[in-house]
């Protein structure tokens, strides 16, 4: 049993990040693939501009919902499920 701490601020960031249709679709897409995917591939799949993609990835990353690996020109993202667990799955425990 692991003791969790999280500030209200962190939770707000997570809920804000999930409170947008594009970002929720990105999460759904990543959860189905369940491996690293490049930002370009995701932007294409979501039909959004790269500028818009860049904005939304930043918000997801700052909420801790995705983690990011830079490989040369490209950026690969993957879900960080521990953050979902902490804030969603174990919502009542950590409130």
């Amino acid at each position: 049993m692991i003791k969790q701490t999280q500030t209200t601020e962190e939770s707000i960031k997570v809920f804000k990040a999930l409170a947008d249709p594009i970002r929720l679709e990105i999460v759904k897409y990543l959860s189905q693939l369940d491996h690293e995917v490049s930002c370009g591939e995701i932007s294409q799949a979501m039909q959004i501009s790269k500028t818009s993609g860049s904005y939304h990835f930043k918000i997801l990353q700052e909420a801790g919902l995705i983690s990011v690996r830079k490989v040369a020109r490209e950026k690969y993202v993957i879900l960080d499920r521990s953050t979902f667990d902490r804030h969603l799955t174990h919502f009542w425990q950590n409130l």
Copy 2:
């Protein structure tokens, strides 16, 4: 095992509703008491005006996170835990 359906729109409403410090505090307060509480009592505990309270309760209600019972002049609210379960606790199952 119960089959769940939920639209993206519903999920967005829930996450938006939780993406605000006042509303998250209201949820925390209600979860600790775990029984019906009047809007007035909550507004007082949160130190917000009744107008602001009214606004936030509406958003929580429209997201399905609280249910409401009107008794004469007063309005009593209580958490609807099934909505939290559907959208948070069982996030991955229902995505």
